[in-house]
């Protein structure tokens, strides 16, 4: 795997992401500066990590979405390259138009950091092949603006095309407003683009991969990606 982790000013989970990629794939990712206009040669996975690019000023992800490196990411994705955006990365992908919809303030208007449960809706994507469809995983969230919305038509398309990959659920996999901490429509926690090669998700699987630190439910995502890319290579 040759992963590239994008670094924007104000991004702050890039170190967590890099460590997890190294830990799960055995390969050190390249750290790519926002002002660069090209991805390193041979990149097969672009990861936009979490954090507060540009302080979340204006709109989360808005300023980062317009940086030079994003043009490179757009063309990489256009050629079918895999792109993973986590938290602020998801927000950036939406702002960049690579994914539909927007992430609004959490319903209760507060930042929330806690473990949540996600129901994995599909296992037939390069991002989720490490899980079984219907499996419930426990991963943390840490965001103030994770409330996914899009217009009715977009939501209908996302649902119709099976592009909702993760949903907030109860520990036994029920969709229940009490377990949807940010108020996202249809409890949406992660979605794919039309082509299925760009995934955006609010929770942080990269923080749940080490047995010594606690839960390891995030590993499946990275293990699956490593395998998918290994197979492709």
């Amino acid at each position: 795997m040759k992963a590239a982790v994008l670094v924007f000013p104000g991004i702050n989970r890039e170190r967590d992401m890099a460590r997890t990629l190294k830990l799960t794939s055995g390969h050190e990712p390249a750290m790519v500066w926002h002002a660069d206009s090209e991805l390193p040669a041979g990149t097969d996975l672009v990861v936009i990590p979490g954090g507060f690019s540009y302080g979340d000023y204006l709109r989360c992800g808005a300023i980062a979405a317009r940086s030079p490196i994003m043009d490179a990411v757009r063309s990489f994705a256009g050629k079918g390259g895999l792109v993973l955006g986590v938290c602020n990365g998801f927000q950036i992908l939406c702002e960049a138009g690579l994914l539909p919809g927007v992430l609004m303030r959490n319903e209760n208007l507060r930042f929330i950091c806690r473990d949540v449960y996600l129901r994995v809706e599909r296992s037939d994507t390069p991002f989720t092949r490490g899980y079984n469809a219907g499996q419930v995983i426990r991963v943390p969230v840490a965001h103030g603006e994770g409330n996914y919305i899009a217009d009715g038509e977009t939501i209908a398309r996302l649902e119709g095309e099976g592009r909702v990959v993760f949903r907030y659920s109860s520990p036994d996999g029920m969709i229940d407003p009490n377990w949807n901490h940010n108020g996202a429509i249809n409890a949406i926690a992660g979605i794919l683009n039309e082509r299925g090669n760009v995934l955006g998700m609010m929770p942080h699987p990269e923080n749940h991969v080490e047995p010594a630190i606690g839960v390891t439910d995030g590993r499946g995502l990275f293990a699956g990606l490593t395998e998918a890319l290994g197979r492709a290579a």
Binding site: F52, A142, A212
Partner: protein, 739 residues
């Protein structure tokens, strides 16, 4: 604009907070009338906050040395050796008054300031904690303050990207007009790459870095600043706004230029901004400093020398660079989009010279600005020792269950989840123990070491007996670190008191320091940094004396840390330490009986140490499966917390005959812990305790889904949890922060 040569009237002097005799000292020192800018500089350097004029004499009695202390008080933060070539850099600081005026920004900039103190020394911040004291819940301002302060702490730390892993929150009417926001930051540095404030070398460039200077936080003379303002907008706001985004860039840029070896000396601009940082760099390095204010990056137009010297704009640094590295350093700062300007140089001789628009605005002796600050031995009186309350004189509750259920739902004892869920406490991927336990545990990158972190103080004890209260704050901190299996290494303190000009307040201050000093000595727990916040009072009513203690402990292997959750059914619950049923100043007395009186529990430091060492050993050799120290609310509360953390219940044996049941279950005797031990190891553990002369008794067994106190019906853990979790969210539901 008031000209620099304005005649200095007694009113102007008073507006600057200088007493007549202090002003006389200024005149004696410089042999002439100061210019307005100079007056501003003196007022900044000699106020209580910067000069420690009332506290210095007493702070000297704190133990500050130890084999692992690399840097004690006197720099931006304390530094201790944690082995493997690494150092831990930490400090706690208050932002009380700003947080009362504007809770969000006040708290946010408090966090920003303490983070800067830590990374100024070359450390990457790895954790933040905070200690918050608010007024009574029913006070009309309290909810708004809680909401804003918590959002502000989270807002800054989350965006900056440091996990906020612990802290404390309390409510008491004595903080009604004066809430306390104490923030602590902890960082890790290479032991041989610590950076200090002292400049060295003559003719070295002094560089200004970070954000631009605005008119933020210029307190000075309200009259003077009113006159500075020519437009009709009226009073100029002095509120500082935090910019965590810029601070994150500043962090990365600073660490990068430090790494590249560009830095000779570095000092953040905190209180009294440019003045304090420039004077400190020069004075510590035995050098003079010349500043050219025309070079200072300003955010607003027409800023005077006075304003630039006193501005408290955030996210700024001053550095002395190696001249040959200037270009390289500048390129790094530009890359991060930060301002970079050479604003002066170091000089021979000990003058502090400030130039602006071709004029010398200030020319002062640099050493004396710091060293010759007034120092007071303020009068103090020790309060009479309160009388000891006998357990028999305190009524028993209607039922133990009822008392327990009531206590865990009180503002001070209930779950603070509503608070810490607004803090990103996992960023970094190193948080081994999240908020909610005795101490947070954070892995030192790539392990196997871990740091245990906590902040503690029991203000009601300090109010009753400042000396015992001071001891207790340190002891509880030490105990919390021990309860997760860490070896306590050192502390930072944040001493919050009322007006030191009142002898009874000064008595509290002196008493608390004596207590802290005694406990730190007895526990080999030196003070390596700290902060003093005085004048915390409104309408002559002082806060409860609140010496917050922030402690750092070390785990050689973070995977060995203990948590307070019961692990499995059928394990023995052991109580370590002596229980006498001390109810004076207890939560039981306050919340159930409506009384805040009596002497607080005394702290036997020898026992404290022996019991703690015993518990730590049990944790490290894996005899103990869970551990928890006893504090507010005593034994019953500690048991409930262990049960709630796990979902596993417990059945408890009868209280000993010689102690009234309610005093046994709710008394707050110190130096105590609860541990659980697998049934097979009980005999061995008890034998070891006897051998070590540590008092240990078996008091019950884990299991089931309810907590059953003797003679009471079972209380399900789920129902306890509901009560424990409910109060704060319900209370806060009435509030929305400013949109």
């Amino acid at each position: 604009m008031i000209p620099n040569a304005t005649p200095i009237t007694p009113e102007l002097v008073a507006e600057h907070g200088l007493k007549p005799d202090e002003y006389k000292r200024v005149l004696d020192l410089i042999g002439r009338e100061p210019s307005l800018t100079e007056l501003g500089i003196f007022s900044a350097m000699w106020n209580e906050h910067c000069s420690y004029k009332s506290s210095k004499v007493h702070l000297r009695s704190l133990p500050t040395k130890g084999p692992h202390v690399i840097q004690g008080p006197g720099e931006n933060a304390g530094v201790i050796d944690i082995g493997d070539g690494l150092a831990c850099v930490f400090k706690m600081e208050s932002h009380n008054h700003p947080s009362y005026i504007e809770p969000y920004q006040g708290a946010a900039t408090g966090v920003g300031g303490i983070l800067r103190d830590v990374f100024t020394m070359g450390a990457r911040p790895i954790a933040c904690l905070n200690a918050l004291s608010f007024g009574a819940p029913e006070h009309p301002k309290t909810r708004h303050l809680v909401s804003g302060v918590v959002a502000g702490i989270g807002g800054y730390g989350n965006s900056f990207g440091v996990p906020t892993v612990g802290g404390s929150v309390r409510f008491h009417s004595r903080y009604d007009g004066n809430n306390l926001v104490n923030a602590m930051a902890v960082g890790i540095a290479q032991k041989d790459k610590i950076f200090y404030a002292a400049a060295s070398g003559v003719g070295m460039p002094i560089v200004y870095l970070g954000s631009k200077t605005g008119r933020d936080g210029i307190h000075g003379a309200s009259m003077a600043s009113a006159e500075f303002d020519e437009d009709s907008e009226g009073k100029r706001p002095t509120v500082q706004v935090g910019d965590p985004f810029s601070e994150k860039l500043l962090l990365e840029a600073c660490l990068e230029i430090m790494h590249k070896g560009c830095v000779i000396a570095i000092q953040d601009m905190g209180a009294a901004g440019l003045t304090c940082s420039a004077v400190e760099m020069g004075a510590k390095g035995d050098l003079g400093v010349v500043l050219d204010l025309d070079k200072v990056p300003c955010r607003e137009e027409g800023m005077s020398a006075y304003e630039m010297m006193l501005s408290e704009s955030q996210e700024r640094m001053l550095m002395v660079l190696k001249p040959e590295k200037e270009k390289e350093a500048e390129a790094i700062f530009r890359k991060w989009g930060l301002d970079f300007a050479i604003v002066g140089e170091t000089t021979r001789g000990n003058r502090f010279i400030v130039r602006h628009q071709g004029e010398v605005m200030a020319d002062l002796p640099i050493k004396e600005l710091g060293d010759q600050a007034p120092e007071y031995k303020r009068a103090f009186v020790n309060a009479a020792k309160p009388k000891v309350i006998e357990a028999d004189d305190v009524p028993a509750p209607v039922g133990l269950n009822e008392a327990l259920e009531k206590l865990i739902a009180t503002p001070d004892l209930c779950s603070k989840r509503w608070v810490w869920e607004q803090y990103d406490h996992i960023i970094g991927g190193n948080t081994v123990q999240r908020p909610g336990g005795d101490a947070a545990v954070v892995r030192v990158e790539d392990g196997p070491k871990g740091l245990a972190l906590t902040t503690d103080v029991t203000p009601r004890y300090c109010e009753a007996d400042a000396f015992e209260g001071g001891k207790q704050a340190v002891a509880e901190c030490w105990r919390n670190l021990t309860a997760v299996g860490a070896k306590p290494l050192a502390v930072t303190d944040n001493l919050n008191f009322g007006n030191p000009e009142r002898p009874e307040i000064m008595g509290q201050f002196v008493g608390a320091i004596r207590g802290i000093a005694e406990a730190c000595k007895a526990l080999d727990f030196p003070v390596v940094s700290g902060n003093v916040s005085l004048y915390n009072e409104t309408n002559g009513k002082a806060i409860l004396p609140t010496p917050s203690i922030g402690g750092v402990g070390l785990l050689d292997d973070f995977t060995k840390s203990a948590t307070l959750a019961f692990k499995r059914a059928g394990e023995a619950i052991l109580l370590v330490g002596e229980t006498t049923g001390w109810l004076g100043q207890s939560m039981y007395l306050r919340e159930i009986c409506g009384r805040e009186d009596g002497a607080p529990p005394p702290v036997d430091l020898i026992e404290e140490r022996e019991n703690g060492d015993f518990v730590r050993a049990l944790i490290l050799d894996v005899s103990a499966t869970a551990a928890h120290d006893l504090s507010d609310g005593g034994l019953a509360i500690a048991l409930a917390e262990m049960a709630m953390a796990s979902g596993i219940g417990a059945t408890l044996d009868d209280a000993p005959d010689d102690i009234p049941a309610h005093a046994y279950w709710f008394g707050e005797d110190q130096a105590r812990y609860l541990v659980t031990v697998p049934a097979a190891k009980v005999a061995d553990v008890l034998a070891r305790a006897r051998a070590a002369s540590v008092l240990v008794s078996r008091i019950g067994t884990t299991g089931g889904d309810a907590l059953t106190l003797p003679g009471e019906s079972p209380l399900t853990v789920a129902s306890l949890r509901d009560k424990f979790e409910a109060w704060l969210p319900a209370y806060m539901a009435g509030e929305m922060t400013n949109a």
